[in-house]
Amino acid sequence: MSSILFSSNTQWVLLSTMILGIAAGTIGAIAYWRKQNLMSDALAHAALPGVVIAFLLSGEKKLYLLIIGAAASALIGAMFIQTITTVSRISEDTAMGMILSVFYGLGIMLLAVVNRSSSGNQSGLDSFIYGQAAAMTRSDVYTMLALASVVILFILLFFKEWKVYLFDPQFAKGIGISHRWMDILYTGLLVTTIVIGIQAVGVILIAALLIIPAVSARYWTESFKVMVLLSALFGGLSGALGTLISALGSGLPTGPFIVTAAATCFVIALIFGKERGLLIQKLHFNKQKGRYEKHAGQTAPVEKGGGMM
């Protein structure tokens, strides 16, 4: 067992899922504040036809080619969602649901064609649906490391721009931050994270790695900076833990274990979180209730500052 854990390949895979988790946690925190949590799910599914087409055209399974295909297809999906929402009366969640299922359906159609015609790459499908980090080759790992680092770097470099862009777009415009370019950058980074995550976590579950760490982080802090850091930490932790556990058994999919690790982080945050956890909320509620009951019948407590909200 220890030989599996400490084999150099496992270490590399571990490193890459950890970095992937950090990247996903970071961009996930931004997606959280854009209130686009499920967008990652839609785009991950929308990537499938691109993956298959890239495979069809090149005839071999090279990660960087699949990534380009996936990214192109996910971006087209994002464009469709945007257009449908702005041009018609269809709401965003409906548009996402449509793009998700229709693109995925197209992907399945193409995949059936590939499996019938080519030398047959049955295992490729499995790892794309629920993630099989162990199947990654060394060059896959390098590709992933490089791209995840780029995502993290872009978020760190423009940290204050992201903050302004998310919380005060009006002001951002005033100081010369182009909303359009930030939108494009955001979508680019989101798609990059999703497509590199597909190999390790799978099409269906990659969304979890973007959503769960960010929400968990929210329970511990009211500061955006700390939230991004915590989200990255939770993401990295989930990636590493999930990979470790799945490496213990043979042929266990990585994705579900990464998601379960992230979900565990979330449950802990939900209960014990310093800012919004259940325990602390219960405390606040009792305190307030007590205060009113004590004052009942007397005049309202006068507080300084008056106007609120």
Partner: protein, 289 residues
């Protein structure tokens, strides 16, 4: 009936049931709930299998309803704790699905269940697994199940038509009139789950999502009347099944994938040409008000 006829009939029943129930799904702004439930139903089926060691229809449906309600309840609960609604869905369905996959990988020994089947469905095998219905004769099991589900769904939609309407349009008013809004929410989620489980076995999770969301969205562009929207949506569902089957035969590929894709083709046509809210209609008369 011939082999193809059974497949088309089965898929049409999926299209019809999903098309009807999907209308309220999108009007309640819960489209992504279809995505969530279609995934978590897997956990229900796995649990039913682990407990009973059977993959028969009844247990699957019960497991599916359980998983669907669990999903709806957890999403609602997290949302009440001020987690954004879509984030709650994302957390709940990925976690439950992950647990389902882990259970399959570790404890069911891959005997009769596999995730790929669940996601893609195996509609091609449906006509071979038959059951004899007294008075009617022999018909595929899945078709029979879907027939029952379709009747149940239509019955509930008709019985509570005005309650679905008011709880979708203005839940606050409904509550103030004494209509049990929460009860109808969970009843609705049960109907979505039942439909999903039944369709799941035949056509797989992804086609269920496509059939639940896309035909109603297309119908929404053609009309401003709820009753007509329901009719159109059901029709589009059936049309997608037929069109998808033709497509699959033509290029020799996955039937359920093609049917999902066909719902998209119908949407694109509606998006462009629908006389009420289509793109071209908008250009012809820019301001309708």
């Amino acid at each position: 009936m011939t082999y193809s006829a059974w497949i088309i009939l089965t898929a049409s029943l999926v299209g019809l049931s999903c098309g009807l129930i999907g209308v309220f799904l999108i009007l309640r702004k819960m489209a992504m709930m279809a995505d969530a439930i279609s995934h978590t139903v897997l956990l229900g089926i796995v649990l039913a299998y682990i407990i009973t060691r059977e993959t028969s229809g009844v247990y699957m449906v019960i497991g599916g309803i359980f998983a669907g309600l669990l999903t709806a309840y957890l999403v609602q609960w997290l949302h009440s704790l001020e987690v954004q609604h879509d984030a709650s869905m994302g957390i709940v369905f990925t976690t439950l699905f992950a647990i389902g996959v882990i259970l399959i990988a570790t404890s069911t020994g891959n005997a009769h269940l596999d995730v790929q089947h669940a996601l893609m469905g195996e509609i091609t095998f449906i006509p071979f697994n038959t059951v004899t219905i007294p008075g009617i004769g022999e018909m595929p099991k899945a078709t029979f199940l879907l027939l029952i589900i379709f009747s149940v769904v239509s019955l509930f939609l008709l019985l509570f038509y005005k309650e679905w309407k008011i709880t979708s349009f203005d839940p606050a008013l409904a509550a103030s009139l004494g209509i049990p809004v929460a009860f109808f929410h969970y009843l609705f989620m049960s109907l979505v789950s039942v439909t999903t489980v039944a369709a799941f076995d035949a056509v797989g999770a992804i086609m269920v999502v496509a059939m639940l969301i896309t035909p109603p969205a297309s119908a929404y562009l053609w009309t401003d009347r709820l009753s007509i929207m329901l009719l159109l949506s059901g029709t589009f569902g059936v049309l997608s099944a037929v069109l998808g089957y033709a497509l699959a035969v033509w290029i020799d590929t996955s039937i359920s994938g093609s049917m999902a894709f066909a719902t998209g083709l119908i949407f694109i046509a509606s998006f462009l040409f629908a006389p009420k809210h289509g793109l071209i209609a908008k250009y012809v008369r820019p301001t309708s008000n």
